[in-house]
């Protein structure tokens, strides 16, 4: 099985230097793109490959790029921003790529930047990823020395500068328009869309924001083509995917597998199944802001369409497992505590609604909840859902809540009837 994203990662060792990476076939995408393709042709390749955004939204990447103005009349400078602010709870896949092979990300970024004729590229990285930042800084320095960055890259007429911005914190920065505000030195509140960043983004100029894993998929598509990329996958959606499992399983970890690998295979073959003495109760498939799935969903392929049909979201593809000795009410309380804390406060439903859900969950967990609280929680799931808030934070926050109310209703009722948490 081919693993284009992780094939050059040497666990426990330093990442490849630029010459080592070139020796292994690296940076061919940049050379090929600059020599053989127009920016529009790169966009079309990536679009036809059906590379879906790996940050969680799952939007067709090439299609997103096609909204950026090209040609002599296009505003400049244009920007490409890599979102390396991996802060979705339970998600640790981008760290693997950043620490393991920073040159693959740079190659993807330079190729993507060329596809929109960007002048400047930023990597927006969270503070906690110290080793990633250090290794990226080294890789960028090497890329300048070998003329993959800077003026007239590889003798072409294309030039690109790259900078790293280390975030000062807050989950909100992962939202692309909030991230742009943070890069501009402001509070990371989200912006109204439209205008979309593709036409008016960083400092009002055309900007593309892409997740680390998405960008790491680009070199393979350019070098090996659309058919090869589609062939990597078990589903309609192209490529491989980094899947992660955390929680009380035998072998938590992160693996590059064909897109559409069934949940059961990831959970049992790769993560080794549940720890001894524990039983599986459910999982959230793609980070904290996705709906719970349960036993009946375990044969669902992990791809964007299939997980949506099962009633959840693929999100980041890193799942968190709930075992039978962990209280589902307390787990949801932990999740809503996170979202209430991370709400930026910009819009009222999110700022006021999320702390309310957290307080109700706290009351139920501590044996002072009432049956009608469950109706209030259900109402919040609706009022904080899509279309009622300024950005996707609150709709994401209520996904695990609404699905917990559905699948673990008995557990909520037991807390209320027995006036205590049965797990304490």
């Amino acid at each position: 099985m081919e693993r284009p994203l992780t094939q050059h990662i040497r666990p426990g060792k330093e990442p490849m230097t630029l010459p080592e990476y070139e020796e292994a076939g690296g940076y061919q995408a940049v050379k090929k793109a600059l020599k053989d393709y127009t920016p529009k042709e790169i966009q079309d390749l990536v679009k036809d490959a059906n590379l879906k955004g790996r940050g969680g939204a799952g939007f067709n990447t090439g299609l997103k790029w096609s909204f950026v103005p090209l040609g002599d009349d296009a505003p400049h400078p244009k920007y490409l921003v890599c979102n390396a602010d991996e802060m979705e709870p339970g998600t640790f896949k981008d760290r693997v790529l950043l620490e393991g092979n920073p040159h693959l990300l740079l190659e993807g970024m330079i190729t993507a930047a060329y596809a929109i004729r960007a002048d400047v590229a930023y990597i927006f990285i969270r503070w906690a990823y110290q080793l990633s930042r250090e290794r990226l800084a080294n890789a960028i320095k090497e890329a300048y020395e070998h003329n993959y960055l800077g003026k007239n890259i590889q003798g072409s007429d294309y030039s690109l500068d790259m900078h790293i911005h280390v975030s000062a914190g807050r989950y909100m920065c992962g939202e692309e328009t909030a991230l742009l505000n943070a890069l501009e030195g402001k509070r990371a509140n989200p912006r109204a869309k439209p205008p979309f960043p593709q036409t008016s983004g960083l400092f009002g100029k055309p900007t593309i924001v892409q997740n680390v894993e998405t960008l790491c998929n680009v070199p393979g598509i350019v070098v090996n083509g659309v058919e090869w990329y589609k062939g990597l996958s078990h589903s309609e959606e192209g490529g491989t995917k980094l899947y992660g499992v955390s929680g009380k399983v035998k072998n938590p970890g992160c693996w590059e597998l064909p897109m559409g690998t069934p949940i059961r295979e990831i959970l049992e073959e790769h993560a080794g199944g549940m720890q001894d003495g524990l039983n599986f109760r459910g999982l959230i498939p793609g980070g904290a802001s996705t709906d719970f799935l349960v036993e009946e969903h375990l044969d669902t392929p992990m791809d964007y369409n299939s997980i949506t049909q099962a009633g959840s979201r693929m999100g980041t593809g890193t799942m968190i497992v709930l075992d039978d000795q962990t209280c589902p009410v307390a787990m949801v309380e932990n999740l809503e505590h996170f979202f209430a804390q991370e709400s930026c406060g910009w819009c009222t439903p999110c700022r006021d609604g999320l702390p309310w859900t957290e307080k109700i969950l706290h009351a139920i967990e501590h044996g002072v909840g009432q049956m009608r609280d469950l109706d209030t929680l259900s109402a919040h799931s609706k009022w904080l859902g899509p279309g009622n808030t300024f950005c996707a934070l609150a709709p994401g926050a209520v996904e695990p809540l609404q699905s917990a109310l559905k699948y673990f209703r008995d557990d909520f009722e037991r807390h209320i009837n027995e006036k205590r948490c049965p797990w304490r």
Partner: protein
């Protein structure tokens, strides 16, 4: 007044920005690097240098959880309280830390050595539970390892 070193670091950032204000977060980080936290005086210094109002700088400073507007200890312990660490034993780690240090979350030890803070998911969930002390990541934690880890920072 910003020190010469602080000004130099902020100037380096301004170079890559289309306007001075855009360097606000970098300026806050620079001041914090040199002074451990950002006092009202620090806010005023930055405002003056970037041609912003102090309130505007403060609105940025108070948004970001990694900028401190209160004094902190010599070492910052940030314990992950997000879901994967919570499932795998965050509570035991927190209790051990609090008992060992004699402080609660958000507090600093009397000798000024340690400040204990919660932090969002550290992105190392396959090695949960985890915490960071200053810029060092510690993972696969059990309550029995806390004493040995803290000893490194005494």
């Amino acid at each position: 007044m910003l020190s010469e070193e602080e000004r130099r670091e902020i100037d380096e950032e301004i170079q890559n920005m289309p306007n001075r204000k855009a360097a606000c977060i970098e300026a806050l980080k620079a001041v914090q690097r040199h002074r451990q936290w950002v006092s009202d005086e620090g806010i005023a210094d930055i405002a003056d240098y970037l041609e912003m109002s102090p309130d505007e700088v403060d609105s940025v400073a108070t948004f970001y959880n990694l900028i401190f507007r209160k004094p902190v200890g010599e070492h910052i312990i940030r314990i992950c309280d997000s879901v994967s660490c919570w499932v795998t034993g965050y509570r035991d780690i927190l209790n051990t830390l609090q008992e060992t240090l004699g402080i609660s979350l958000g507090e600093t030890t009397a000798d000024g050595k340690f400040t204990l803070l919660p932090i969002q998911c550290l992105g190392t969930c396959d090695h949960a539970p985890a915490l960071m002390i200053d810029e060092d990541l510690h993972r696969d934690l059990g309550p029995d390892r806390i004493g040995e880890i803290l000893a490194k920072y005494k």
